[in-house]
């Protein structure tokens, strides 16, 4: 089996600042992988580079949705085209469409996989109508799955914080991704909500077959969910492996806890 996402030697410079330094990463089909590291380590920048918001200074990003070895390089694609190829993401600082309802937010996610144009919208022929019904139905189903069905017609801004985070996931799901990139999905959630999120992410992987790469600071969630973990600091990969490996990796511990255990390293 070939990896579905493969990042090779990625480097990202902002002026003189090197935010990502020669990073390698891969994800296999059906994996849940976590990317952890101290604040400012370059994790979100990494997401932005993969999803086309930034263009990496050097290195390659390949995707291979079917895992059959037919790789596609997606470095220079615009964000919307990356999404269309099946990479969906959520945002650390929630970016919902605040003037729209919950359902409409998810319906926007269907944009990538539907195609009615201006003329279709004006004349609303049978195919447009069918597509429109499909969008509504699909969006509602996703909301039910994510447990937000009771909010359908509420404005997205009026939702409780935890629900907004889940709505971001719902919206990303609607783009029919093979890989979901979650940027701190549990940030600001209470323990109960985090538990539910844990179950939800598991469910997405097990039932929908979606692979997941997540950035997270909640170590309990990371350890319980992920099969493999990458640790970055100052843009460099400093550790990689199973949760057990990471827990006992002295370099990682040093990066997280500081200098006092230097002599152990």
């Amino acid at each position: 089996m070939k990896p579905i996402l493969e990042v090779k030697n990625m480097t990202m410079d902002f002026g003189g600042l090197r935010a990502i330094d020669n990073l390698d990463l891969f994800i296999d089909k059906g994996e849940i992988v976590a990317l952890i590291g101290p604040n400012g380590a370059g994790k979100t920048t990494f997401f932005n580079c993969i999803t086309g918001i930034y263009t990496p200074t050097s290195g390659d990003v390949f995707i291979d949705p079917d895992g059959d070895g037919k790789k596609e390089r997606i470095n220079n694609l615009k964000p919307n085209l990356v999404t269309r190829r099946g990479l969906a993401r959520t945002f650390q600082n929630i970016r919902l469409f605040s003037s729209m309802t919950v359902l409409e937010n998810v319906m926007i996610g269907c944009h990538a996989v539907t195609k009615a144009g201006i003329l279709g919208a004006i004349f609303r022929g049978p195919s447009t109508k069918a597509e429109e019904n499909l969008i509504v139905e699909k969006s509602y189903n996703i909301l039910e799955k994510i447990g937000l069905a009771k909010y359908v017609n509420e404005l997205a801004v009026n939702l409780p914080y935890g629900a907004q985070r889940r709505l971001e996931i719902a919206r990303a799901m609607a783009t029919e991704p093979f890989l979901l990139l979650l940027d701190e999905p549990a940030a600001g959630m209470n323990p109960q909500e985090t538990l539910e999120l844990d179950a939800l992410i598991m469910k997405l992987r097990d039932n929908e077959g979606i692979s997941i790469l997540l950035i997270e600071h909640d170590m309990k969630l990371v350890m319980s969910l992920s099969e493999r973990i990458y640790v970055v600091d100052y843009g460099k990969k400093i550790g990689e492996g199973t949760p057990e490996d990471i827990r006992s990796n002295p370099v990682v511990i040093k990066a997280y806890l500081g200098e006092e255990i230097e002599e152990d390293a």
């Binding site: 902002f14 979100t44 932005n48 918001i53 945002f91 600082n93």
Partner: protein, 342 residues
């Protein structure tokens, strides 16, 4: 009977646009062309254009400073800024006429009218901010911009209704200096005064921003409003001061230009404002040296364009310039480009 009188062509619109308004919006440079035969004449013509452009650029700079300072602090294009400049010119005219009729000596009239113009422009700038922008501090930027457009429309028509829609002759406050006579064919005395005033204003402003407490507060506020207020800076006050300082420089520009051109009307602020805005963007909006540099570049290009190519399309050229800058270098010559935080 004529039934074709409609809204879109009625006289209140024509009033603004008849071609007699053309090129009097801001500056009419009187080129003493003569017979341009020899190299000397060409050189003289060139230097006239050069200094004409410099004067023009200085005026733009005085207005552009207000734009750039306000934008630097609250990220608002203060559409009504040109109107402040117009109000400065009107106040100067009214006050100086009244004082002259009272029989005051010329020097006293000039000083008092200038002071009145600055005081009133500042007051208008201050009040405008309190009414049209402060309540919108947390609203979407589009709202504040629309409010600014409304303010501009209001102030123009306020002056139109309270005063007149006609052009008013403006006395030449600046005399022709005798000592400058030998150089006057290249740079006239009023132009000289404009240049000197601009330089003095720039120096004062730089001093204010670099070395005073309020200047430091302004810089802090423009970096991060929230943080500045947490550190005990009264952000509202800083914003008010910014409007007041910007208005003062605009008023000085208004008086200088009005006395240079010799006439004013309620509409003079609009094109001047837009061009100053072009200059501010060209230099990099939010940057004070940028505003000055952008103004000079715009002044020169306009001057040479009209002098060597065509004066018909002068304003088209300015707008085209703006469009091109925004497309190819939206951050301007000295501006810092900001990456959006995701």
């Amino acid at each position: 009977m004529d039934f074709h009188i409609t809204y879109m062509a009625d006289d209140s619109h024509n009033r603004r646009d008849e071609s007699r308004f053309k090129n009097i919006y801001l500056l009419r440079l009187s080129y003493k062309t003569g017979s341009r035969t020899g190299l000397n004449m060409d050189l003289e013509y060139f230097s006239q254009l050069f200094f004409g452009g410099l004067t023009r650029g200085s005026i733009y700079a005085l207005i552009a400073l207000g734009y750039t300072m306000v934008y630097g602090i609250i990220e608002l294009i203060n559409f009504a800024h040109g109107e402040i400049y117009m109000i400065g010119a009107f106040t100067a005219l009214i006050v100086s006429s009244v004082l002259t009729l009272f029989g005051m000596p010329v020097l006293a009239v000039v000083v008092l009218a200038g002071m009145a113009a600055v005081v009133y422009s500042c007051s208008y700038g201050y009040t405008m901010e309190k009414i049209a922008y402060k309540p919108l501090r947390n609203a979407p930027r589009l709202s504040a911009l629309i409010s600014a457009i409304g303010m501009s429309l209001f102030l123009q028509n306020y002056v139109l209704l309270a005063q007149t829609s006609d052009f008013l002759p403006f006395p030449s406050l600046i005399p022709d200096f005798e000592f400058w006579e030998p150089y006057a064919h290249i740079l006239t005395s009023p132009e000289l005064v404009i240049l000197i005033t601009t330089v003095v204003v720039m120096i004062l402003l730089t001093f204010l921003i670099k070395f005073t407490k309020i200047g430091k507060a302004m810089r802090a506020t423009s970096q991060d409003k929230m943080m500045a207020s947490l550190l005990g800076i009264n952000v509202d006050r800083v914003i008010s001061v910014t409007f007041v300082v910007g208005s003062a420089t605009a008023a000085i520009g208004g008086i200088l230009i009005a006395s240079h051109i010799g006439q004013i009307n309620f509409y003079m602020g609009f094109i001047a404002g837009i061009k100053a805005f072009v200059a501010a963007v060209l230099g990099g909006i939010g940057s004070i040296p940028g505003a000055v540099l952008g103004s000079l570049v715009l002044g020169w290009t306009e001057s040479f364009f009209t002098g060597y190519i065509s004066s018909d399309y002068e304003d088209v050229f300015a707008f085209l310039f703006l469009v091109l800058i925004l497309i190819f270098r939206p951050s301007g010559i000295l501006g810092r480009s900001q990456a959006q935080k995701v």
